[in-house]
Symmetry: C2
Subunit: 400 residues, 2 copies
C-alpha cells in the first residue's frame, strides 16, 4: 500500500507550505504567538506578585510544547487530571506533577508508580479512606511512597471531604498508611457560582488555609513546607489574595493552578477576567484570546445562510456556540464579520446566519472563537502556532 | 529523557494485560464484538435486500479497522466528510471514497489530487458554480478529472441546491468544466424532522430519483451508471424503499450511507430504529448498542452522589447526557445500575445521582452508553474491541 504523509491524515496540518490561508488543510486550530506569550507572562507575573507558585493546569491544552513554555517562564510544575495526562507531561520533560484528582484503578496506579520510579515529583488528591487504603496497598507492595493532598469539597459540589469527621477519618487513615504521605491540602473553587459567589469563594479559601494551619499544628504533614492549592481561571485572584493575606510563604507552598488563561477565550473567561479586573483595577495588562479555528465557507445555499466546513468535532459549542471573528482572503486584510451569528453546529458543519448583503464567497476563510478553550483543544491532534501574518511557526502536537 | 510506552500516554489503553476491568487504564471506550458483528451484517443484509450498495459513513468512527470489517462484509465503498478523512480511509485500504461534502480549499484539493493519482475512485459533491469553477481550475491544472455528484438540498437545510434554476446553472457549469465529471446525485435527508417527517423524507427521496432520471434523459452524466445516494442511520428504510420502488438498479447505482448503525446507540438511534421496525414489522433481527465507556467511581463525597472519573472529553453529552448501564467488579457478574442518573458532566468528571442505599464503592467500574455515537468516537485515539467476558480482543486506533 502506498504511504501518504502523516500530515495528510490529520486535519489542520500544513500541506504545501507555511501560510495558514493558502497552505494548510482547513479546518485548523490556531494559536496566536504574541497573545500566547502575553498570557503566559501575565499569569506568571500575577502568581509571582502574590508570592504563590504557578502549576498551570495542563489538562486544558494537553500540548507539551505549551507546558515547556509555561515552565520556562517560571511555572513551578504542571497540574494534570489523570494518570495518562501525567505520563504525557513527564515524557515531555515536566518532572513536578500535581494531579488534582483522585488516583483510582490498578492500571492507573501502575502508570504513576512507573513515573515515580523514574524520578517524577508527583502528588495526587484523596478524599476517602477507601482510596487511601487501596493506594497504600498498591504502592506499599512496590516499596514506593505516594504523596497525597487532602481534597476539601463543598456541599453539593464535586469531590472532596465535606465535614470535620470525614476529614479526621481521612487524616487518621493516611497516618496509618505507611506508603502514603500527606503533603498538603487541595481545593477547587470553580464550582462555586450564583449569588454571593465572591464571598463564598473567599470563605472557601479561608477554610483551606485554616485546615492547612490546623493540620500543620497537629504535625499531620510529612512535608516541611506543605502545599496548599486551588484556583481555576475564574476566581484565581480571590484565591491568591487569601493565600497572600495568610502569609503562608515561609512555612508552606501556596500553588495556583489556572489552566484556561494560557489561551484565554472569547466569552466565558473574557467575562470572568473583566470581573477580576473590576475587583483589581491596579492589575496591569490583560489576558488576550489566543485560540481560534479557521475554516472555509463551503456553501451559500440560500440568502442569509453560509455553511462553513467546521463542526462539533473542531470547536467547542459548550457553553456557547462558536463566535464568528473575521473573514480572511489571501492577500487582503482580514475583515470583521459583523452581524453574523452561528445558528447551529453539526458534527462537520456550521450554519452561519449572515446579512443578505454580506460579502462572503465559497472558499472564503472564516475564523471563530469559542467559550472555554478545554473543549476546543481536545478536538485536535495538533494546533498551529502562528504569527500576526498568519504564517505557521510551529505545529504543536496534543496528547488527549 | 526516559521513554514511556505509547500506551501509557493515551487514555483507555491496556497497561498490564487484556482484562478490561483489571488491566486497562480507565476511562476506556469499548466496542462489544458480538454486537458489532451483528450490526455490520444486519445493515449489509438490509442494503442487499433493497438492491442498494452500502457505503457506510466512515466519519462516525474514523476507525479503519471498522472500515475493513464493513468492506469485508460487502460494503461497496466508504463515505467520508473531509479530504483528510478520505486520506485516512485510502491509506488503510479503502479505494472507493464517496465524500458526501463539498471539497474546498487548495490544500484539501491537493490531498484529493494525491489520492486520485494513487488510484482512488473518489467523488465529492458540489452545489455551487463557484465551487465547480475552482475545482475545474485546480484539477485541470494537474491533468486530472474530478468526479462530482450534485447535492440537492432542502429549504432551511444545510448544503445543496435549492431550486431548478440553481440546478440548471450547476449542470451547465459542470458541462463547461473539462476537469469535472458529473457522476450522480446526492442528498441528505437527516435534517428533515418534525411534523410529517416521514412524508417529507419520502418526497425528498422521490425528488432525488426524479432529478436523476431527468438528468439521465438529458445525457448530463459522464458515467454510464450514475450514482444516486442518501440515507443516514435514521430514515434509511424510507430512502431504500424509494430507490427500490424506482427500479433504478439496471441503469444507475443506488448507494445508502448510514454511519451510526455500526455501533448503534443507547437512545437517539435506538428510538429511530424502533420507528424503522414499526414501519417494517417484517424486518428480522435488530441493531444492538455496541459502544460503551467504562470508568471508575473516584469519590462518594455525600449521600446520593458518586463522582465518576469520566468527562465531556470521554463521552458524548449531546443530544443526551450519558446513560448509566452497569456496575462492574472483577470476578462478579455485572450489576444493572437502576435508579441512577447523570446530573452533570464536566471536562473530566461525571456526577452520578445514586440511591442512598446503592452498593457502589470507590474503585467500582461503571459503564455508560450514549446518544449518537459520532461524538463519543472522536474523543478517543483508540477504542477497544472486547468479547462478552470483557477481554480486549483488539486495540483499534482512530484517526480524527
Amino acid at each position: 500500500m502506498m504511504t501518504l504523509s502523516a500530515r495528510h491524515l490529520e486535519k489542520g496540518n500544513p500541506i504545501t507550505g507555511p501560510s495558514l490561508l493558502e497552505d494548510v488543510s482547513l479546518p485548523a486550530a490556531v494559536i496566536f504567538d504574541a497573545e500566547l506569550a502575553n498570557n503566559i507572562a501575565w499569569m506568571q507575573r500575577f502568581a509571582d506578585g502574590h508570592g504563590a507558585q504557578l502549576a498551570p493546569h495542563g489538562k486544558t491544552t494537553m500540548t507539551p510544547a505549551l507546558f515547556r513554555r509555561q515552565l520556562d517562564a517560571g511555572a513551578w510544575g504542571v497540574t494534570l487530571a489523570t494518570a495518562t495526562q501525567c505520563a504525557v507531561a513527564f515524557e515531555h520533560g515536566a518532572t513536578r506533577l500535581l494531579m488534582a484528582n483522585q488516583l483510582v484503578g490498578a492500571p492507573n496506579m501502575a502508570i504513576v508508580a512507573g513515573l515515580i520510579e523514574r524520578g517524577a515529583d508527583y502528588c495526587c488528591v484523596v478524599d476517602s479512606v477507601a482510596n487511601v487504603e487501596a493506594l497504600d496497598r498498591f504502592f506499599g507492595a512496590r516499596d514506593l511512597t505516594l504523596n497525597v493532598l487532602i481534597e476539601l469539597g463543598v456541599p453539593g459540589g464535586r469531590c472532596g471531604v465535606r465535614d470535620e469527621s470525614a476529614l479526621a477519618a481521612l487524616v487518621d487513615a493516611i497516618a496509618a498508611a505507611p506508603a502514603v504521605a500527606l503533603c498538603g491540602i487541595e481545593g477547587y473553587e470553580g464550582l462555586i457560582g450564583g449569588e454571593h459567589a465572591v464571598d463564598r469563594v473567599r470563605a472557601y479559601a479561608r477554610q483551606l488555609v485554616a485546615t492547612l494551619r490546623r493540620l500543620m499544628d497537629a504535625g499531620a504533614f510529612a512535608d516541611r513546607k506543605p502545599i496548599v492549592t486551588a484556583a481555576g481561571s475564574q476566581w484565581f485572584d480571590l484565591i491568591a489574595e487569601a493565600f497572600d493575606q495568610a502569609e503562608l510563604r515561609e512555612h508552606c507552598t501556596p500553588v495556583l493552578r489556572p489552566g484556561c488563561y494560557v489561551v484565554h477565550d472569547h466569552r466565558s473567561y473574557r467575562d470572568a477576567l473583566a470581573e477580576v479586573k473590576a475587583r483589581h483595577p491596579e492589575l496591569e495588562g490583560n489576558l488576550q484570546p489566543a485560540l481560534a479555528v479557521f475554516a472555509h465557507v463551503q456553501s451559500l445555499p440560500e440568502p442569509g445562510l453560509a455553511v462553513v466546513a467546521m463542526g462539533k468535532r473542531d470547536i467547542s459549542c459548550d457553553p456557547d456556540l462558536p463566535i464568528p471573528l473575521q473573514r480572511h482572503r489571501p492577500g487582503e486584510p482580514a475583515h470583521p464579520l459583523r452581524h453574523c451569528t452561528v445558528r447551529k453546529v453539526m458534527d462537520q458543519h456550521t450554519m452561519l446566519v449572515i446579512p443578505e448583503d454580506a460579502d462572503l464567497r465559497i472558499g472564503d476563510i472564516v475564523s471563530f472563537g469559542a467559550s472555554h478553550p478545554c473543549l476546543t483543544f481536545d478536538k485536535w491532534r495538533q494546533v498551529l502556532r502562528v504569527d500576526d501574518g498568519l504564517r505557521v511557526l510551529e505545529t504543536m502536537p496534543t496528547f488527549f
